[in-house]
Symmetry: C2
Subunit: 262 residues, 2 copies
């Protein structure tokens, strides 16, 4: 039984693969190989972390301590079908795919799910990012915990079921809020008003969340059930029928919530 992970094969060369490989490399782990169907991405990442790279699954090195599958959810199954690892430890990094999918390629498996949004250019400070880990047994869980603790002070044992709940909540918190910004920008742009005027407001909205329960700090016409303003807004949205529907539905949900809390 190994008690430390030294060598890692990274499968994937996208945002998560890149940030993770670089972070482990910085902490002294050896990234031995990058495997990706996208040759240029594989080569680029391999250069960054002093690794070899391949686009041929038959060339994947078989004696590494850990295989990290950091590819799109829909590609995980394809990768698993190409890997025949015996008892080498393999993890994926997905929020919504069950851990058990990995049992087809190894008897040692787990998950490292990073609760963060990554873009390639934007360097990420991992030190407080929640790492949600899961493994098929205690020993593997401890190996993953030791590894994750190199990068972050927030490692949590999270089951596949909990992980998919967290992923769903993250869609609301990250993707859906960003879409609210998209709609706001479009509404402003149609009226020649720059989006930057809203940035201090949206920063403050998030800063408040640091210290407050979101339901306690809700403000605005829906929270006050201010029907005159709501009606005026819906008239202004007549040229954006899709956004008017979103406005109506969220406003009704805020009204329901505020009455429920009274």
């Amino acid at each position: 039984m190994k008690n430390e992970i030294h060598n890692i094969v990274m499968i994937g060369a996208g945002n998560v693969a890149t940030h993770l490989a670089m972070a482990f490399h910085d902490k002294g782990k050896k990234i031995v190989q990058i495997y990706s169907l996208h040759e240029k991405d594989a080569e680029l990442l391999a250069q960054k972390v002093d690794a070899t790279f391949t686009t041929d699954n038959k060339e994947i090195i078989l004696h590494a301590d850990l295989y990290i599958i950091a590819v799109n959810d829909s590609a995980i199954k394809d990768v698993v079908n190409k890997l025949h690892l015996g008892n080498q430890l393999v993890v994926h990094t997905s929020g919504s795919v069950e851990m058990e999918i990995l049992s087809a390629c190894s008897t040692s498996y787990g998950v490292i799910y990073l609760l963060q949004t990554f873009t390639k250019e934007h360097k990420v400070d991992f030190s407080h990012i929640p790492f949600c880990i899961e493994a098929n047994n205690k020993e593997n869980l401890q190996l993953l915990r030791n590894l994750a603790e190199l990068l972050t002070d927030d490692v949590r044992n999270i089951s596949s079921e909990q992980r998919s709940i967290i992923h769903l909540a993250a869609v609301f918190t990250c993707n859906f809020t960003n879409h609210m910004y998209v709609l706001a920008e479009e509404i402003l742009k149609k009226n020649n008003i720059p989006f930057d005027i809203l940035k201090p407001l949206l920063m403050e909205t998030v800063m408040k969340i640091k210290d407050h329960d979101p339901v306690e700090i809700q403000t605005g016409p829906a929270q006050r059930n201010d029907l005159l303003v709501i009606e005026k807004h819906l008239q202004m949205l007549a040229q954006f029928p899709e956004y008017a529907e979103i406005y109506k539905l969220i406003t009704q949900s805020i009204v329901n919530k505020s009455q429920h809390n009274d």
Copy 2:
């Protein structure tokens, strides 16, 4: 014609009134009086800014340089009907009420709309908050600009029509995003997962907005049109039918937008 505002009567004693009165007081302006129907709030604010206070509109001091009506939108008309100012300058602070409503109480009027969300306990740094100003003539606009520039480096001339557009966009950016946090927290709570696990993610989501157009940084299952994950999420939301509707509508809107941009 005055060229500087020295004395201010504050009408209202809520969040905006409190933060504005304290900020102008700190900058050496004299807050001569607080008028509010809520005696305790009026007294409390009066103490903070060395002002007198009254709950009787007949006692409102008539010789001040500026009257700031910082009350709920629905109360502005009532206040206007009680004020008979001749040509004293009067402004309101609302995002969605037209400036002209003030013409019933004075021949000099305008708007100071602060694009920020306030809570009483949370001290606000005004220095980069956009102040949207409007006035019935150039001289009054200049008076308001000079006053606003005491507090912020971001003063903008914004018409009533533009202001209501900005207010609508702010509802999406502030109130609706906060409601996404509310829903995420509730989904997590039902599964005994603390909301704090999402905080690094939501902070990073907003930090990216500083340097990127929101439409460029959209991620997640809707952006990838990942129907398997979307279907799984809708099944998980079966116990929250209202949230499932919101999920469907926003997801469809993200899908529409991403296809439109391809």
